[in-house]
């Protein structure tokens, strides 16, 4: 029983800290967003080329990084919903979306085929060994990050509910204008 209580206390404190960090970031955020740099991990593109995540770059425009997998229903719903409005988002903010698949390597061909058939205009990256997922502290997917023009993580969100892409776009618009993102 003691163990349970202590673990609960630890969990509670840790989650409070995680949240209080969020609050303090909110109060201290200035006009320009600052955040953590994306860790450097070498992934593959669907064509088998190497891609280093430290090279995530979009000419000073915002970037969305979204973790997904073929078995993840809500990931596919989110990416499909975004795809319907992606052209508008790009026109307005210049955003680029990187869809990082964490499927096992055997399904690489299916990932390419799936993304292509859905007409997704995203950059598809393969994180078969889940190195990038671990480095970004992603637990359950979908998990989505927004990066500012300097490639720093300024916003993140887990899970997807119908219509949540609108909130994501509000964040992207603010980041594109260099405004603070309250998180």
């Amino acid at each position: 029983m003691k163990k349970i209580v202590l673990t609960l206390v630890a969990v509670f404190c840790a989650s409070m800290l995680a949240n209080s960090q969020v609050v303090s970031a909110q109060t201290s955020s200035s006009d320009t967003n600052t955040g953590k740099k994306v860790p450097s991990v070498t992934l593959k593109t669907v064509d088998g080329k190497s891609f280093n995540t430290a090279d995530l770059e979009n000419g000073g425009k915002p970037i969305i990084v979204s973790f997904w997998a073929l078995w993840c229903k809500n990931c596919i719903k989110e990416l499909t919903a975004i795809n319907d409005v992606y052209a508008d988002w790009q026109e307005e903010t210049g955003v680029t979306l990187y869809a990082v698949s964490i499927d096992d390597a055997q399904r690489n061909a299916n990932v390419k085929s799936f993304a292509n058939s859905k007409g997704w205009d995203y950059e598809i990256l393969l994180d078969s060994n889940q190195d990038f997922k671990r480095a970004m502290n992603v637990g359950n997917i979908p998990h989505t990050f927004v990066l500012n023009g300097k490639g720093e993580i300024v916003w993140q969100h887990t899970s997807y509910m119908d219509g949540a892409e609108n909130e994501l776009f509000e964040v992207v618009k603010k980041v594109a204008k260099g405004q603070s993102v309250k998180q």
């Binding site: 673990t7 404190c13 690489n108 061909a109 889940q130």
Partner: protein
């Protein structure tokens, strides 16, 4: 609670505090950053007479909680981290050996353009994993991390060479127990070569290939097996190999929308509990070809697996998690609960499978596609066992006799038993700005006895038809309602099922759902149960909290083709996850 555990908990808390301050203040050191995550799943179990759960079956085990917290610290090219885990005790359905509190995972690494070096615990996958795959899946309670050293070199563009050595995690077993022959040492090397990058070829065709060699070194092995000849039983002490190796090669070619991937692995004799101590070498071959263009994709794949179980402990059981390699199933990983009632997991002792998948998006503004288009997926997988011919030993013919070559098997011959077949059609359609839906039909054949390892005839072969619809209604910018209904029809196993689910979400933070899975076709009238569930949740950025109450049916839970058994339970669950 002993002192060590208490110390670990305090250390974790201190680190979380430091983590918070460091990340809030842009680092104690310039450019340093701390990040981490936390997940806890707790469940309180109550008696439920209809489900056969009483106070005496619960026997005081009314609570389970799995917690994991991970912390990573990086400065410049250095990176270090650890994971804290507490199972106090583990949730029902997780291995009882998972119970415990501690830090099973920690590492320090250095990386630059040419090298990645890690000391401590690490995960890795060579190719598709036929030779080596160490990974972790929280929801399955699976973790076969390797503790040791790993170095990846990138001496020249397009060339990557990885070498590693270490011992796999075995629940909370001390790594010192290795001296007591508790598990073997795993070592491996892998090379990955991208031809276009090496030779600076600016062409549409992309070619890369790779190869790996993985060995297991295990000492102190001993096993005696029995042979029956003319009614007399004789005992033999097996001469067991201390070193077992697997070699694998792979090639990947793509040309615009065309793609081809092939991988072959060969394992030398590896008598083990899993293959009934036969000396036959193992083989696995996987081939896939695909073509896709915008709006259309087709994939074909074939696979043969023969005696390819490879574990770092000779007498490991299936649940020991000491797998060195991993061969995922080809079949589609279903998104909904009823088709997942009969999930397929690769049969390492032998299977042959074929898969075809066609995806087509009917363009927008056509008669069928409507204003928003419509996408169709047709998918088919069929799996047979391999043909096994008996071998002669001292004039007696036998199959799978411990201590022999086991059997012979022609490479291209298919066995007599269809283990699994899955034909499914899915249509995804957006009707308007407010309405969209997913509709599926699935036909499954599932040899429950052979796939799940029951004695033949216990459950038989299940033939099931499943129909489902998942419709979403976006009421306005903040509110949406989702309704899901699924129907499974079968004359075998537990008979017919029907489910209904409503999920209401109030953006951006809240959701509630109510669902019922009804086993109305069960032959046993007392087992025609409603598996109801009510749940609510709150999402704030990367934090998610879910609370639910209801019944959970027994069955297999699978993530990425790896499954674990979940027992029937009734109770309250609380789940919390966050990352920073």
């Amino acid at each position: 609670m002993n002192k060590v555990t208490f110390f670990i908990l305090m250390l974790m808390l201190t680190l979380f505090v430091c983590g918070y301050h460091a990340s809030a203040q842009q680092g104690i050191l310039e450019n340093a950053s701390i990040s981490g995550s936390l997940q806890t799943d707790a469940q309180y179990y109550v008696p439920d007479k209809a489900m056969g759960i009483t106070d005496s079956t619960l026997n005081g085990n009314v609570f389970g909680m799995n917690t994991s917290g991970e912390l990573n610290y990086s400065v410049g090219n250095f990176r270090a981290g650890m994971r804290f885990e507490a199972y106090t005790p583990a949730l029902k359905g997780f291995d009882t050996r998972a119970k415990g509190v501690g830090i099973p995972y920690f590492y320090a690494s250095y990386s630059n353009k040419y090298i990645d070096a890690t000391i401590g615990d690490f995960y890795e996958q060579f190719g598709c994993g036929f030779a080596l795959r160490a990974y972790q899946e929280w929801n399955l309670g699976y973790d076969n991390a390797i503790r040791g050293a790993k170095v990846t070199l990138r001496p020249y563009k397009g060339i990557k060479v990885t070498g590693l050595t270490g011992y796999q995690r075995f629940f909370w077993n001390n790594y010192v127990n290795i001296l007591n022959y508790d598990r073997g040492l795993v070592s491996g090397v892998d090379g990955d070569f991208n031809v276009n990058e090496i030779f600076d070829l600016q062409m549409k065709t992309q070619i890369s290939f790779g190869g790996s060699f993985v060995s297991k070194h295990e000492t102190g092995l001993s096993k005696t097996v029995s042979f029956v000849f003319d009614d007399s039983t004789q005992y033999y002490k097996l001469n067991l190999p201390e070193n077992v190796a697997t070699a694998a090669g792979r090639i990947n070619v793509s040309h615009g929308g065309f793609g081809f991937y092939g991988e072959y692995a060969y394992k030398i004799n590896n008598p083990s509990a899993y293959n009934t101590y036969i000396y036959r070498p193992g083989q696995a071959l996987y081939l896939t070809a695909s073509y896709s263009t915008k709006g259309f994709g087709v994939t074909l794949a074939a696979k043969r697996v023969d005696n390819m179980s490879f574990k770092s402990k000779m007498d490991a059981s299936g649940s020991d998690q000491l797998d060195i390699n991993f061969i995922p199933p080809l079949s589609k990983q279903h998104h909904y609960s009823l088709p997942s009632l009969y999930p397929y997991a690769t049969q390492y002792n032998g299977e042959m499978s074929l898969k075809g998948n066609v995806l087509y998006s009917i363009p927008k503004k056509t008669k069928l596609g409507g204003k928003y288009g419509m996408s169709i997926e047709l998918d088919y997988t069929i799996v047979y066992d391999i043909k096994k011919d008996s071998i002669q030993f001292n004039g007696v013919s036998m199959i799978d006799q411990p201590g022999t070559e086991g059997y012979t098997s022609p490479f291209f011959a298919v066995g007599d038993h269809c283990l699994y077949s899955d034909l499914n059609l899915t249509v995804t359609k957006k009707f308007s700005q407010k309405w969209k839906g997913v509709f599926s039909y699935i036909y499954l054949i599932y040899d429950k006895d052979r796939v799940e390892g029951h004695s033949i005839g216990e459950y038989g072969v299940v033939n099931a038809h499943v129909g489902l619809a998942d419709v979403s209604w976006k009421i306005d910018n903040k509110n949406s309602l989702r309704c899901e209904t699924q129907w499974l029809f079968t004359r075998q196993d537990k008979g017919n099922w029907g489910t209904l689910l409503f999920e209401y979400s109030f953006l951006p933070h809240w959701f509630v759902s109510v669902s019922d899975e009804y086993n109305y076709g069960n032959e046993d009238k007392d087992q025609r149960l409603h598996y109801y569930n009510v749940s609510g949740g709150y999402v704030y950025n990367s934090t998610r909290v879910t609370l639910s109450y209801g019944r959970q049916r027994d069955g297999l839970l699978c993530v990425g083709g790896v499954c674990r058994y979940v027992p029937a339970a009734t109770g309250v669950s609380l789940s919390l996850s966050t990352s920073f």
